[in-house]
Structures are given as structure tokens and as C-alpha cells.
């Protein structure tokens, strides 16, 4: 049976993994490659790296880091942030990443999704989105961009459907409201999007306890969930999260 994936997220700034709440108060957590190896050995099903400062500073992605991760880990990983063109996507994929994640770029230029899917296969193209609760759109969730700094007026569910139609192979729903709170995933928007699209949906933002993952898999039909602070802090291990998922009857990869 296909298992539900647990995906550690590593936000990288100047070559170091950091964690902040709502993109503020960043704290140094360690070396990206060492952390990737630790999580991979510890049972992560996949990894995602965001070069969190790349977009804001209009700096290209750190390809050397992507190559180093690809040499060191044997599980799939995605890279996002700092990708502004098809050649950028290609460089990241050739460096050894399985997937590239586009977010603000795709809002500005939705065709990049179709172009990326045509060039590399849709499984390589992940749409990341940062929805926030809002009274301005039909679903009650509005897309923000550039690290929650800009509101777009776009409806989150409509955008997810459109991105899937354009060729996104997977959609990461990162709730602005839940991000960094460790109070649980935003269930409503995750479930709405999981039910609206035919491609896998990754829940992101708000994981603080193993039971939050159980909730989002069971109640919001997510295919995968991103964890960050709760494991970076050492409070929980991936194995502890997975044991709880397994005990709750969620298909979980336990043999690694």
C-alpha cells in the first residue's frame, strides 16, 4: 500500500538551515547536508529545501548545496526558492534534485508550470502555495506571494486546480495562518484542495505534535505532510512521528 509521506523541510539561508516564525526571527539550526543525512537515515520519506532568502534578494539558488545533498542522501528531495526560469529548473534537476518547487514565480507566470512539466515531466514540478484566510475569495482562502508579503486576490482552490491542469505534479499547501505555530495543520484548506485536484497534496505549516500528522492524513486527505520545528528542535524524531501514525492505522513506511 502506498504510504503517507513525512517530509522534513529545511529552510536554508546563507548555506545554513534556519527556522523562523512567519519568516521572522530566524535561528541557526545547522548544516544542510548533515541534517539531510540525519533525517534520511532517521526515516524521512523525502526532503524539501527552500532557499528562503533567494527570492527576496533575487539571488540564484545555491547549486553547490544541491549537488552536495544529492551525493549524500539516497531519498528524493525537492528544491524551491530562487527559481526564476526554465534554465534554473534544469540546473537544479541536473544537480540531482527530483523536484523543483515554484511558488511566487508561478503566480507571476503560470506558463512556467506547463513549460517545466513539458521539459522535465510533471512529477518534477511542484506548486508551492501560501494561502491565508481571507474574505476576498470564494473558498475563503487567498494566495499570498513573496514570503506572505503580497496578497494576490487569487482564490486558493481555483489556483490549485489551474496549476494541476497546467501540469503541476504535486501541490504543497502551506498555510500562512498555521505556519510556525506548531498548533496543527490548517485542515480546511488542505482538505478542500486535496478534494479538488487529482494530483498529490502535501500539507505544510503548523506541525507541532505527531498527532497533527495523524489528523491531517485522516481528516484532510493529505498525501504527505511537511514537518520542521518539531523535529529541528529535537522535541520529536521522525520515528516517533511514524510510530504514532502507524499505531493510528495510517499506512507508514517503518522499515528504513
Amino acid at each position: 500500500m502506498l504510504t503517507k509521506r513525512v517530509i522534513p523541510c529545511l529552510d536554508v539561508r546563507n548555506g545554513r538551515v534556519t527556522k523562523g516564525v512567519k519568516f521572522k526571527n530566524n535561528v541557526d539550526l545547522g548544516d544542510p547536508v548533515e541534517m539531510a543525512v540525519g533525517y534520511s537515515d532517521g526515516g524521512a520519506d523525502e526532503l524539501v529545501f527552500y532557499d528562503i532568502t533567494a527570492s527576496a534578494e533575487r539571488r540564484p539558488i545555491d547549486i553547490g548545496m544541491v549537488e552536495a545533498v544529492a551525493r549524500a542522501v539516497r531519498i528524493p528531495f525537492a528544491v524551491g526558492g530562487g527559481i526564476s526560469s526554465l534554465p534554473d529548473m534544469e540546473r537544479v534537476i541536473l544537480a540531482g534534485a527530483e523536484k523543483v518547487s515554484v511558488n511566487s514565480l508561478a503566480v507571476r507566470n503560470p506558463r512556467i508550470i506547463a513549460e517545466g512539466a513539458a521539459a522535465f515531466g510533471r512529477q518534477c514540478i511542484v506548486l508551492g502555495m501560501d494561502p491565508v484566510k481571507s474574505g476576498r475569495t470564494a473558498s475563503g482562502y487567498e494566495i499570498t506571494t513573496r514570503g506572505f508579503r503580497e496578497f494576490t486576490g487569487m482564490d486558493a482552490v481555483e489556483w490549485a486546480k489551474r496549476a494541476a491542469d497546467l501540469g503541476a505534479g504535486e501541490i504543497v499547501v502551506n498555510s500562512v495562518d498555521a505556519d510556525g505555530t506548531r498548533a496543527g495543520f490548517e485542515m480546511d484548506i488542505t482538505r478542500m484542495i486535496a478534494e479538488a485536484v487529482g494530483v498529490p497534496v502535501v500539507a505544510s505549516g503548523g506541525a507541532g505534535r505527531p498527532s497533527h500528522l495523524v489528523d491531517v492524513f485522516r481528516g484532510a486527505k493529505a498525501d504527505a505532510a511537511i514537518v520542521a520545528g518539531m523535529i529541528h528542535s529535537g522535541e520529536y524524531t521522525i520515528t516517533e512521528i511514524k510510530r504514532e501514525m502507524h499505531a493510528a492505522g495510517i499506512p507508514t513506511r517503518m522499515n528504513y
Binding site: R5, D45, R71, R74, P76, G169, D223
Partner: protein, 201 residues
């Protein structure tokens, strides 16, 4: 030395890195001569069946790959490299593929609750005697899959996986030819163990 066939069907970095992690040297080749003289061939691939077949033709590799697959020398197909060993794929409106292994490749049916592509870790059950050598390295273990199309079960099926209510061929064995739908190079320690096992087949 492991010879990896490069026919423009996706990125080979992961495959190369996985063998490097086992301390095994690889060469990436794109010409028929190199495939013909290879001791051990890895035939990877991601993407679509039609462009893969077109690319094999364009690089003059079609016959060399077909010959290597039935040569009795060790051969390992991965993902799309497994699918196009079959006779025909329904992808892109229907494509005749290499025909080294009898059978057909189809798209997953639309089943509520099952997303396509299948992305993630799924378990493999070994079927029949044919997979005996690699059986303990595979049976009941999870590997990483990314695919929208699958090969039907058939005589060459050595491993079965279930998705969207469908049992499909996740591993193929025919003599020295092995192939898998999943990505051993991206399946952690368990995937590396399988590659290591294949190296001693």
C-alpha cells in the same frame, strides 16, 4: 564498471550517485558501440514513452539496447526504462516499445482517493521462483515510486505492487535481465542494498 545509458530521458545524477555510494565506477554513454561492449548495463529513464522511443532512435540506440537486454549480460531497467522494455504502452495515444518483455503498459484508472501520478513509497511482493536471488532484498519492503502508467502482470513479473485497485508489475526478471518500476537509487538504504545485490547477480 556499470554502463548507464543516456538517451535524454531524464536525469542520471541520482543513478550515478547511488553507484558511487557503493564504491562502483560508472560511465554514462549515448552511443551504440559503448552499449554493445558494456559488461553491465543500467537503462534508466523518466518522462514519456514516445519521446523516449524517439530519442533511442535518434541516438541509434534502439537495437543496441534491445540486444543488451537479451544478451545474457546483467541488465537493469529502471522506471520508464522498465516500461519501454514491454511491447506496447498506452501513453501518448499508443506507442510500440522495445518488445523485449511480453506485455503492455497502461494508465492507472481513475479511482476516488487515488492520485495520479502515484508518488511515494509502496511495498513490493515477490512473485514466483524467478526472483529468488534478490527476493530477501525486496519482498515486503517499500521502495520509491513515481509513475502514472504501469505494466500489467505477466510471465516476466517478479514483483507485484498495488495501487488504485490494480496489481501491477513492479519488478521484472528474465534471465540476466532485471527491471523495476520503482527507483532503487532513491529508495534509501533498502534501495542501495538491492543495487548491491544486483551487482553480484
Amino acid at each position: 564498471m556499470v554502463t548507464i545509458v543516456d538517451y535524454g530521458a531524464g536525469n542520471l545524477t541520482s543513478v550515478k550517485n547511488a553507484f558511487a555510494a557503493l564504491g562502483v565506477e560508472t560511465e554514462i554513454v549515448r552511443d551504440a558501440k559503448s552499449v554493445e561492449r558494456a559488461e553491465r548495463v543500467v537503462f534508466p529513464g523518466v518522462g514519456a514513452a514516445k519521446s523516449a522511443m524517439d530519442n533511442l532512435e535518434r541516438f541509434g540506440l534502439t537495437d543496441a539496447v534491445r540486444a543488451a537486454a537479451v544478451s545474457g549480460r546483467p541488465f537493469l531497467g529502471i522506471c520508464l526504462g522498465m516500461q519501454i522494455l514491454f511491447e506496447r504502452s498506452d501513453e501518448d495515444g499508443g506507442v510500440d516499445t522495445l518488445g523485449v518483455v511480453p506485455g503492455r503498459v497502461r494508465r492507472f484508472p481513475d479511482v476516488p482517493g487515488f492520485k495520479v501520478p502515484e508518488i511515494g513509497w509502496n511495498d513490493v511482493r515477490v512473485r514466483g521462483e524467478s526472483a529468488a536471488e534478490l527476493c530477501p532484498l525486496v519482498d515486503g519492503l517499500e521502495f520509491y515510486f513515481v509513475h502514472s502508467y504501469f505494466a500489467e502482470l505477466g510471465d516476466a513479473t517478479a514483483g507485484v505492487t498495488e495501487y488504485a485497485g490494480t496489481g501491477f508489475t513492479s519488478m521484472v526478471r528474465r534471465g540476466a535481465l532485471w527491471a523495476c518500476q520503482f527507483h532503487p537509487e532513491k529508495s534509501g538504504r533498502i534501495g542501495l542494498n538491492l543495487l548491491k545485490g544486483w551487482l553480484s547477480c
